[in-house]
Structure formats: structure tokens, C-alpha cells
Amino acid sequence: MKCRRCKKPAVIKLPRHNTAYCGFCFQFYVYEQVRRALSEHKMLQKKEPVLVAVSGGKDSLALWDILTKLGYHAVGLHLNLGIGSYSETSQSKVEAFARTRNLELITHAYQEAYGLGIVEIARETARPACSACGTMKRYHFNRIAREKGFAVVATGHNLDDEASRLLGNVLQWQESYLQKQSPALAAEDGKWARKVRPLYRLTEREIAAYTVISRIDYIIEECPMSKGAKMFLYKEMLNQLEETSPGTKHQFYLGYLQKKEQIFSPQEKDKQCCKVCGQPTRGTICSYCRLMERVAT
């Protein structure tokens, strides 16, 4: 199999594009997909510093690598969730990545801040671990971005993440989540950071391939707390469809983004400030502060 661009031996076949690339040309393809995402959704301004949420997994480290190579001032933010050796390994991968590339990294450890890790917080509040984790991550991304003066936070969500989330939202008819799902979310109240997902045009497999080709060392294991999550089932189902009909995930998610505005009327701003922490919320107290109340009691 030959590379479509340079005719050298290919290292990856992309059935959804009916093509194959060598390592060098595949990296070029990845940069082009990210450039296109950034440009189509006006995600970043060239001189604006961006806070990149880095877990130590392939997506976030690939994102940090790509944004840096594209010339953006990307600073990493790692939240140590306090999940035993999994979190220790994750942090060491992030620190090694930053150190070898001379990149700025901000870390925040739950164990130091609360005296508890996410497992204990979820247990004490009787919340599913992934749900408590999501609430806490959103809060800290917002808080740290604001404290450090970042107007934008980038996360490594890929096409599989977005397509599986869309499938889950459709299956449950979660209209408010469907309306909100977007690769670029505006700043809430004009004072909180914008949220962008520059990898949404690339599949999970493409990003994993990029990390192998680019020699990025990441944590390969899945988070031990995510075992049995429905998202994996949705991803598996979508991959089955993708195998028989390449391009399904792309058509599903990007097609949805094109049609979304015809389906939903413009979103009403129904958020206010949390009475405790001031972050955006639909109620009077945000989900993070309600979670913390339960930890304290």
C-alpha cells in the first residue's frame, strides 16, 4: 500500500477517506484537519494563550503537541484525580511530555486540595464516579482559566467522543444536551473561558496513530473508574457501523452540526451565577458546590 501524497510505503489506511498515508504525510493530514476545525469554528486567535486540559491520555497530549506545532501558545493544565497508580502514571506522562518539550504546565491535585481523591468523593456523595469527575473537571477548568487569565480552554475530544455522545443524547432524547453539543462553546456571561474541541474532525484511531508516529508517550490504560460506562458501548456500536460503512461517524456528527441550527431555535440564555462560587449554573447553586456540600456533611 502506497501513500496517496508521496507514493512512499503507507503506515495507515483511512477507509473513510478511501486513502492511505506514510507517517510524514499522515501528520500533515492531522494538522490540516485541526487547522480546518480551528478556522471553521473560529476557535482560537493566533496570539491568544490557550489552556489545554491534559489528562496524560493520547487525545490531550496529541492536542497539546499539535497546537504547539501550529504555533499557538498552549499551556497545559493537569488535574490529578487521586486514583492511585493510574493518576500517578498519568501525571508522570504529562510532566515528561512538558519537560522534554519545554512547555508550561499547571497541575492541581484533588488529594492535596480536598484530602480525598475522586473515588472517595464519588463514594461520599453517592454519585457515579464519571458524573462527579465531569462536574469537578468543568469547575476547575473554569476556575483555573479565570484565575490564570486564559480566555479559552481546549480539550482533546475526538470524533468518536462526539459521535458517541450524540448517539447517547439521541437515544435518550436529551434535547438540551443536543442543542448545546458543539465543538466550540462561547464564554458564559462573557467572563468565563470559551471551550473548544479542535480534534473533533479526527477519529480515535487517527489520534492514536498520530501519537505512535509522533513518538508521544501516553497512558494506554483506560481510567479504572470508567469500566462499564455506556459511552464504550456506543463507541463499539459506531465502530461496527464504521467497519461496514466507512465515514459513518463523520457523517453522523458533522451532518448533525450542519443541521443543528435548522432543528433548534437559538438557545436562550438561561444560566445565572452560582450563589456560592459565582460560576455559571441553571439553578441557584451549581452542581460542583452541591457536590462539595455533600462531601462536607
Binding site: I12, K13, K58, D59, E204, I220, E222, K235, N239
Partner: protein, 51 residues
């Protein structure tokens, strides 16, 4: 697993979907039609990872 064997055949025999796994020989990514020798050091890496 005995070689030589094509990467695609390894995934098929292990009943692994190609969309969810990469085949890495040594440190290099290989396409599904790559013929891997008997003494090759092959890693089958799941693409879903992290948290």
C-alpha cells in the same frame, strides 16, 4: 502466533475490529496488508485509552 502473517489476519483471528486497534511492529505503525515475519515484535494497541 506463528508468522509470517498479515496484520489484518492477526486482528481477524483475535476477533478485534480494525477501527478500534492499531498494529505496531517494533515501534512502527503498519497497515493491515503488512506481512509480519515470524520473529516480529508485534503490539496490538487499543485506540481507546485514558480518562
Amino acid at each position: 502466533m506463528k508468522g509470517p502473517r498479515k496484520a489484518a489476519l492477526i486482528l481477524k483471528e483475535l476477533n478485534l475490529p480494525r477501527e478500534a486497534y492499531l498494529v505496531i511492529c517494533g515501534e512502527e505503525l503498519v497497515t493491515e496488508d503488512a506481512l509480519l515475519p515470524d520473529d516480529a515484535d508485534v503490539e496490538i494497541r487499543p485506540v481507546i485509552s485514558g480518562g
